[in-house]
């Protein structure tokens, strides 16, 4: 794939066709021979052949334990493992030793919340005291969070006596960043927020939140699951303290994700999962720990998946994230036209600025599950339900929405098929 023959950012028809040819699953049919229209990339993306090949190749050619053993295979496996770390770090604007492998974003968020707990009970010594939470300290979230960036903080609050506060969202689902000065206070110790909502697709203005958090000395934690696969993300430039993202949403394998932490913070943070591969000296009564990132990677990692994720990051990098973002912006414009389908109401921004090609909606008179079923019969895969964001749905007074979400391989034809399918839903249920 080259993108040099295009002047404007985006993907030409030829480039898009080449991208699609890289994804074997997109060629299959569903529900009695219908072409697949996959609009559930927000839940999980499909994988290019090169990622699949990389995993197979790892097992066929390089499989060995990493960071132990002096034989050639161990060297090669370790090199592939660490090359993947460098590739992913470069992709998100971080240094390699600031990337901790986890089983996914959920594990990354839990890692941080339990590390803060451990610091609170004195683990990590003097260096970790900055992370200790006291009763009455505040953890600030937003109403737009995925449960993965909400429930672990609730648990941390319950363990430490900290208090939860949160940003509300406006009627288009955008986080009320204008409330930063009042929501983030001198008692705020952590501000955890999503970079882009998996429901509304709204992109969060990071800078004002980070600026206010820094003003009061609070840590910032960015849920970058939805942004990293779809936008150019530079974590150093965003200046957040921690971030999490998952591999399977960014064309990579399942079972792997990453925690980003600023180097000096990871160096001070106590470990959570302990055991092999993360220690320096172990006696019968105590152990000393390796520096990050190994300190947080006890046990055997998902090595083949990690190597695959490194290749997924390179795949996106070669396409160019500006091109990916521009392509998906065009798709968002197309998707938002569903607002013209009678009975369809979009939950989220109705305009394509500062939003992803992730569009949740309700069809008046038809439950989201039934909407999804009718679309599925036409070969169109969308997500239905609360998308792991019950508070956000409650904010809009609804229990469930249907959601169409795109990725780099999504075409405008996919979106047209989706709109046409949607137009037939109310007729099927005789709703007028």
């Amino acid at each position: 794939m080259t993108t040099t023959d295009t002047v404007r950012a985006g993907l030409s028809a030829t480039e898009l066709a080449a991208v699609r040819a890289d994804f074997p699953l997109l060629a299959r049919t569903v529900r009695g021979g219908r072409p697949l229209v996959y609009l559930d990339s927000g839940a999980t993306s499909q994988k290019p052949q090169v990622v699949l090949d990389t995993e197979v190749d790892f097992y066929e050619e390089r499989n060995a334990a990493v960071h132990r053993g002096a034989h050639q295979l161990a060297e090669e496996a370790t090199e592939a493992f660490e090359d993947a770390r460098s590739a992913v770090a470069r992709f998100v604007g971080a240094d390699a030793d600031e990337i901790v492998w986890t089983s996914g974003a959920t594990a990354a968020i839990n890692l941080v919340t339990y590390a803060l707990s451990n610091a609170t009970i004195g683990r990590g010594g003097e260096a970790a005291r900055r992370f200790a939470l006291a009763p009455g300290d505040e953890i600030v979230l937003t109403e737009a969070e995925h449960h993965a960036n909400l429930v672990p903080w609730q648990e941390l609050a319950a363990r430490t006596g900290a208090v939860l506060r949160w940003f509300g969202v406006d009627d288009e689902g955008r986080i009320r960043v204008d409330e930063a000065a009042s929501v983030i206070t001198e008692r705020t110790r952590v501000v955890a927020f999503t970079h882009a909502s998996n429901v509304t697709g709204a992109i969060t203005p990071v800078a004002p939140i980070v600026a206010r958090a820094q003003e009061v000395g609070a840590l910032t934690f960015l849920d970058a699951c939805q942004s990293v696969p779809h936008l150019p993300v530079d974590l150093h430039a965003l200046d957040v303290d921690f971030a999490a993202f998952s591999g399977h949403k960014m064309l990579g394998p399942t079972g792997v994700g990453a925690l980003y932490g600023r180097r000096e913070l990871l160096e001070a943070l106590p470990p959570v999962t302990t055991g092999g591969s993360m220690i320096e000296v172990v006696t019968m009564t105590e152990a000393s720990y390796m520096p990050p990132p190994q300190r947080f990677e006890a046990g055997t990692q998902a090595v083949a998946q990690i190597v695959g994720l490194g290749v997924a990051a390179q795949y996106l990098e070669e396409l160019g994230m500006e091109n990916v973002a521009a392509h998906e912006h065009d798709l968002a414009v197309e998707m938002l036209k569903i607002a013209d389908v009678p009975g369809v109401r979009i939950i989220g921004p109705r305009t394509p600025e500062d939003r992803l090609a992730v569009v949740s909606f309700v069809v008046e008179g038809v439950h989201a599950h039934d909407v999804g079923q009718v679309l599925d019969a036409a070969g169109i895969a969308v997500r239905v339900g609360h998308h792991c964001a019950q508070p956000l749905h409650r904010r809009f007074g609804i229990a469930a929405t249907a959601r169409a979400s795109a990725s780099v391989y999504t075409t405008s034809e996919d979106v047209v098929a989706f709109r046409e399918g949607l137009a037939g839903v109310r007729a099927f249920f005789s709703v007028d």
Binding site: A378, A399, F429
Partner: protein, 182 residues
């Protein structure tokens, strides 16, 4: 629309979903044994609160005198609640348990349905045969039946004097464990 879609959304299901029976709580009659259950389908947020009143005039054969419920959910869950209301209202408790077992067997049939005798007993509920082709929707159809079972278990009606003397069910139970809503 594909045939499997139409097999799932039978007209009887669409009709029940549009005007569901039993929806909306009614005042509980005084002095009657009753039970209540709240069930949710955590994957999609569908939920129901069901109230069941029992007639225990004949303690050996307690019957269900009234079913009412409030809930929100897809057409499958709402229609299933409606059909359940029709099926078990006035039925002996043991019969309602038996119907619940049959319905769970139907949902495990992968769309093949049951034998004629059992389908006769289920009446309108056999319209849900097509739902059993869609594993993700089975729990929608079972939401109400889970509420009924919970209501029977928690109301105390099963522990009444009639419980011990109920005849054993004459239909074999499915060897598979029924799919639960949670």
């Amino acid at each position: 629309m594909s045939s499997s879609l139409e097999q799932m959304y039978q007209q009887v299901i669409l009709d029940h979903a549009k005007s569901p029976h039993g929806r909306g709580f009614v005042e509980l009659a005084e002095g009657h044994l009753h039970g209540e259950s709240h069930q949710i389908n955590p994957t999609c947020g569908d939920e129901v609160t069901m109230r069941v009143e029992f007639d225990t005039a004949d303690p050996k054969v307690p019957t269900i005198s009234r079913v009412s419920w409030e809930g929100q959910g897809c057409s499958i869950s709402q229609a299933s609640l409606s059909v359940l209301t029709d099926l078990v209202t006035g039925a002996p408790v043991a019969e309602s348990e038996h119907l619940g077992d049959l319905f769970r067997q139907l949902m495990q049939s992968r769309g093949k349905g049951l034998d004629e005798d059992r389908e006769d007993e289920l009446g309108d509920a056999t319209a849900f045969t097509g739902v059993a082709q869609f594993p993700a929707r089975i729990k929608c159809a079972l939401l109400g039946w889970a509420a009924l079972r919970d209501t029977l278990a928690t109301s105390g009606v099963l522990a009444g004097p009639g419980a011990a003397s109920q005849p054993p069910l004459d239909q074999p139970l499915s060897p598979q464990s029924p799919q639960e809503n949670r």
